[in-house]
Symmetry: C2
Amino acid sequence: MASEISIASASRETNRFLWDLMNKIIIHEVGPRDGLQAEKTTVPLTEKMRWIEGVCTSGIDIIQLGSFVNPEKVPQMADTDALFQHFNKNKPAGVTLSGLVLNEKGLERGLACGVDMFCMGVSASETHSRKNTGMTSTEALGRIIPMARQAMTAGKNVQVSVQSAFGCGYEGPVNREKVLSIVKAYLEAGIHNISLADTAGHAQPLQVEDLFGSIRALDPSVILACHFHNTYGLGLANCYEALKSGVTFFESAFGGLGGCPFTKLPAGNVSTEDLVHSFQRMGLRKDIKLDVLLKVARQVEKYFDRDLPGFILKSGSIVDFVGESGLGEGS
Amino acid sequence: MASEISIASASRETNRFLWDLMNKIIIHEVGPRDGLQAEKTTVPLTEKMRWIEGVCTSGIDIIQLGSFVNPEKVPQMADTDALFQHFNKNKPAGVTLSGLVLNEKGLERGLACGVDMFCMGVSASETHSRKNTGMTSTEALGRIIPMARQAMTAGKNVQVSVQSAFGCGYEGPVNREKVLSIVKAYLEAGIHNISLADTAGHAQPLQVEDLFGSIRALDPSVILACHFHNTYGLGLANCYEALKSGVTFFESAFGGLGGCPFTKLPAGNVSTEDLVHSFQRMGLRKDIKLDVLLKVARQVEKYFDRDLPGFILKSGSIVDFVGESGLGEGS
C-alpha cells in the first residue's frame, strides 16, 4: 500500500530513520464512517457509493466504508454490508477496504461481507467507554483482543485503537499510563498495528510526541496510526508531530466532516484534502490526486448544503503553484 | 516581558536549551494592525481603544497599535499616532506598544508619538515588494537598515522582518537563499531581533524548521519571531514547529482576523486565542488571561457582524478542564 516518493527537503535535524518512515505514509479515509456517523440525515446508498468511488480513484490507500453496528440504533450505518459487497467487486487494485467493529456480531458480519481490514478499539476514558459500548475499559479490552485475534486468524489486516487517548470530553484528562497499559495488552496479544484516536479533539502536539514516542520505546517494530479531530484547531499540528514521531497511518475525513456522537463536543475530523495538501507541500504522497479528493469533498458539501470545515476547499491547492517544498532552488 | 512558567511535560527528545527558550515565549498581538488593514469598514478610534484596552489587561506582552502609512491611502490606519498618544498614558506596566513603519516619514511619526518597539521589513518576493512599497527588495533593504539603526540609536526596540519568507501569492516559491541573504544583511548591521513573516500563508512546518534553524546556525544569539497566516490550515502547526525551532516571539491577531491587502489571497492571521490556548495546553504562558482575550475577540466579531476564523471562539477553552498537559498523573 505504501508509496515511495522522494522527499524534496530533508530536514537537517530529523534522523534518517524517521525520514524513511515518512516516505511510507498511508492515508486512511474515514469519511464514510466517522465523517457521517454524527449526521442526522441518512445518506442514500447511491450517494455514498458515488463519494467512495471518487476516493477509490484518488490514490488514497484505505477507505473505511462503515461500521458494523445495530442498524436500528445507527441508521446511517445500516448499509455497511451492502457497501462492502458492492466495492469488493468494484475497487481498484491496491485499495484496502476497512470496517469498524464494536462486538463479536459486527465481526461476524464483517467477515461475511469481505472486509479487508478490521478496526476495533477500547476507550481509555471510562465514561466514554460506557457511553459508547456499555462496558468498562477493562471489559471492552477483554472482548476486543480475542476479536482481533480471530480476525487475524482469518487472514485479515487488523488495527486496534485506544479511543479518547488524549483526553475525554466528559472526564477531562486521560491518564497516559492507562493509554499505555491498553497498548501493552495489545502488543502482548501479538497485535502490532496500533492507533491512538483523539476522539474529543483534546490532543496537543507535545502529547502526541510523548505517547507515540513511548509506544515506539515499548516496541520499535510497532506500526502506528493516528486519528485526530480539529476541535481546537490543532489537527494538522498533531498530524505533523505524529509524522515526526514515526506514525505512518493517518486517518482523516473528506471535507473535515465528522465527530463521534458519543463525545461531548463533537467536531470534524482532520480534513483529508488539508492533510494530503500539507503532506504534498512537504514532498510526500504526491501520487494522490488532490483534485479528485476536492471534487468528492465538494459533492459531500453540496449534499449537506453547508460549508464544511476543510481549508483547501475554500482556499484551493497551492501544490502545483508553489511546488512540493517552497524552499526554492537553494534547498 | 518574558514569563517564567514551568513546563508540565518536558518532551523526552527535545533538548534542554530549546525547552528553556520555550519558557520565554512572547505573544505579540497584531490584530489592531494586520488584523484590520484588509477590512473595508474603518473602525472608529473609540472601538479600537476598547479592544486594545482589553488586550492590555490580558497579560499579552506586545500590542501592535497600527502602522505609520499614508492616512489617505489607508484610512484604517489614520489614527495610529492618536492610539500611541492615548495608550502611552494608559497602559499597564510591562506592556510594549509596537508600530509598523514602512519609510522614513513613518519612522519620524513613530518616534514623535512614543512607539516602544519599531517593526519594519523587506519582502523576499520582488512582486510583493513592489506592490507593497514600490521598491525592489534590494532598494527596500537599503532603506530599512538605516531606519532600523536610527530607531535603535534613539533607544527603541527594533524588530526587522523578511516578508513573504515562505512563499508569495504572486510568484509562488521564494528562494530560501534570498530570505537568508536579507537576514545576513540584518545581522551584519547589528540587528538581532528578526521575524519571518508568512505573508501569503504558504509556510509548511518543514520550511519553518529549515529557515529558523538556518538563521540560528548563522547566529545562535539571534532573537527569532514568526508571523503566520492560516490560509491553508497550517498556522498552528507552523507555530508549533517555530516553538521547537527556537522562536520566542509569536505574532497573532484577535479572532484570527486579518490578511495583507497586497497579497493575492489574503487570509486571517493565526488567532491569538487559539495560539494562547495551544501554548497553555502545553503548560506555557498560563499567566495570560484567555477569558479576557476571548471577550475581546467576541467584541471584534460583534463589530464586524460575521464569524471570525478562530477555533476557541467556537469551541471554548479546555485549559481549565483538562489542565496544562492532559497527560494525567503519569506525566
